[in-house]
């Protein structure tokens, strides 16, 4: 069912382009875009761009997500950690991460590291906040059950805090995938020699509008696949959640 509405939109777009209702120099017909995509898929450059972007996204993602997970859990479990970190996170989180991109480029240079870092920073805060919320929202009764049985600290962390926080952690993963992609593309616009973001920017500078659209399509597809991947992980690891189907 989910395929129906995007398909309808594409058909409408195609019709408008062919009938001359929209300016094809700015809005090329989907058929033109897919033909171009097909052509580019056969080139090595396309795969280098996609591979580079994916690698940057995943390395940056893990660099941010793992520390975020640890800090979020620690904030949820230990009051001193919470009291130290909460004001910092509250102050830094709302800062748009794109705003500090120039600073990141200045510190880490124009190379790969700056791409990892900008993605990692965005992911870190989201992961911290969602993991913390995940722990904080566990009903106290579950901790009471474990404490009443004189469960050890480690047992309480492993059998109550961690599983109880998993729904929050997965919410974090889901939003982080989108943010990672967004920050990566922005970073590739300004300081990169390859990658999907770089390719879009380059297509703009030489006015190859169709190639720009190919870039959009690839990003949309990556966004869709990563969301799907998180859903798949969630179904696998949280079989206990009631879900509406």
């Amino acid at each position: 069912m989910w395929i129906v509405s995007p398909l309808a939109l594409l058909l409408l777009w195609e019709a408008c382009a062919r009938l001359g209702f929209i300016e094809v120099r700015f809005f090329p017909a989907p058929s033109t875009i897919f033909a171009k995509l097909w052509e580019l898929i056969g080139t090595a450059g396309f795969w280098i761009d996609v591979g580079t972007s994916l690698r940057r996204m995943f390395i940056g993602f893990f660099m941010g997500a793992i520390p975020g997970l640890i800090v979020g859990l620690a904030m949820g479990l230990f009051r001193p950690v919470r009291e130290i970190c909460q004001p910092l996170v509250a102050a830094l989180y709302p800062l748009p991460k794109i705003a500090i991109l120039p600073l990141i480029l200045l510190i880490f240079g124009i190379g790969e590291l700056s791409k990892y870092v900008i993605v990692a920073i965005g992911v870190f805060f989201l992961m911290t906040i969602n993991t913390f919320a995940g722990v904080a929202n566990i009903p106290a009764i579950y901790f009471d059950v474990a404490r009443n049985l004189r469960a050890s600290r480690w047992h309480i962390y492993l059998t109550v805090a961690l599983p109880g926080a998993l729904p929050g952690i997965f919410t974090g993963l889901r939003v982080c995938m989108g943010v990672a992609l967004l920050l990566l593309v922005a970073a590739e616009f300004v300081g990169a020699e390859e990658g999907i973001g770089y390719r879009i920017w380059w297509a703009w500078s030489v006015f190859w509008v169709t190639n720009m659209y190919v870039g959009f399509a690839v990003i949309a597809l990556l966004g869709f696949l990563s969301a799907y991947f998180v859903d798949w992980l969630e179904r696998r690891f949280l079989p206990w959640q009631r879900r509406q189907t």
Partner: protein, 278 residues
């Protein structure tokens, strides 16, 4: 019989906005080994607070509370809560086994058998691989009963375990709990607001007074076991005891109500003052 629990002059206060609130005041009581003690009292009189102290979840602010720990290889207490407390992330089977796992008393096949036995007894054996979201409210409460019994605690603590259930489920569960206890006798402290339930299950019923909670009276329940509510209800003795309990309780409930509205009125005054000051 020896005393399992000795409570002397126990008090508990909570810091609240604008002072301290006394939830329990100089409570003294003894619970014998293998006694089934029921406690009734108006809501807010500190029953849960008292039970949570016995379960190691709260501390008294005054007085002494002693529990005689007999055997090292059994957990001291296992609590059954009024609210849903089964872990949503564990299957029925794993929920039932939870206590053995975290108390380090898991003994392989012997424990598997024990889990099976109580799942069978609580009618959950067919649902062993289900997750709690797939169970009804009554089944979840039966599961928390099973989880507590599986650990074979020295003392079972139950805080209005059936209060949230519908009447039919409640009747069945009371009956099943009575049977389970007769087969596996241990010390039980059982809080309820149902007088029928208290008389059906208890060897003795304590009536508590309204806040700050105190022990008002202790009534022994003389009926032979096994008991069923239907047969008890036909005896004049049952009616006499429930009537007596209700007479004791009614004054307290009325007083608790008056105090509650007093507390609300007091808060309202504070708010008005604060507003006029600001």
């Amino acid at each position: 019989m020896p005393d399992k629990i000795v409570i002397r002059e126990v008090g508990r206060t909570f810091d609240v906005k604008g002072g301290v609130f006394a939830a329990l005041d100089r409570v003294s009581l003894d619970v014998q080994d293998k006694e089934f003690l029921c406690i009734v009292g108006p809501s807010g009189c500190g029953k849960s607070t008292l039970l949570r102290m016995l379960g190691g979840l709260e501390h008294p602010t005054s007085g002494i509370l002693t529990i005689h720990h007999g055997e090292a290889d059994r957990p001291l207490t296992a609590m059954i809560f009024q609210e849903e407390s089964v872990f949503p992330w564990l299957t029925v089977e794993k929920n039932a086994a939870y206590g053995l796992k975290v108390t380090g008393t898991w003994r392989g096949p012997e424990s598997v058998e024990r889990v099976d036995y109580f799942l069978e007894k609580t009618g959950l054996a067919r649902f062993r691989t289900f997750y709690p979201y797939q169970l009804s409210g009554g089944m979840k409460q039966r599961l928390s009963v099973a989880r507590a019994f599986v650990t074979n605690p020295e003392i079972l603590l139950m805080d209005e375990p059936f209060a949230a259930l519908d009447e039919q489920n409640k009747l069945l569960l009371q009956q099943e709990l009575g049977k389970l206890w007769e087969e596996n006798r241990g010390t039980v402290v059982f809080i309820t607001h149902s007088l029928d339930e208290a008389v059906l299950l208890g060897d003795r019923v304590l009536v508590m007074s309204s806040a700050p909670g105190r022990i008002k009276q202790s009534i022994p329940i003389p009926f032979e076991r096994p008991r069923t509510l239907m047969s008890l209800r036909r005896t004049p003795e049952f009616n006499r005891i429930t009537q007596e309990l209700w007479d004791l309780l009614r004054d307290e409930v009325e007083r608790a109500r008056a105090e509650e509205s007093g507390r609300v009125a007091a808060t309202a005054t504070v708010t008005i003052n604060a507003e006029s000051a600001g």
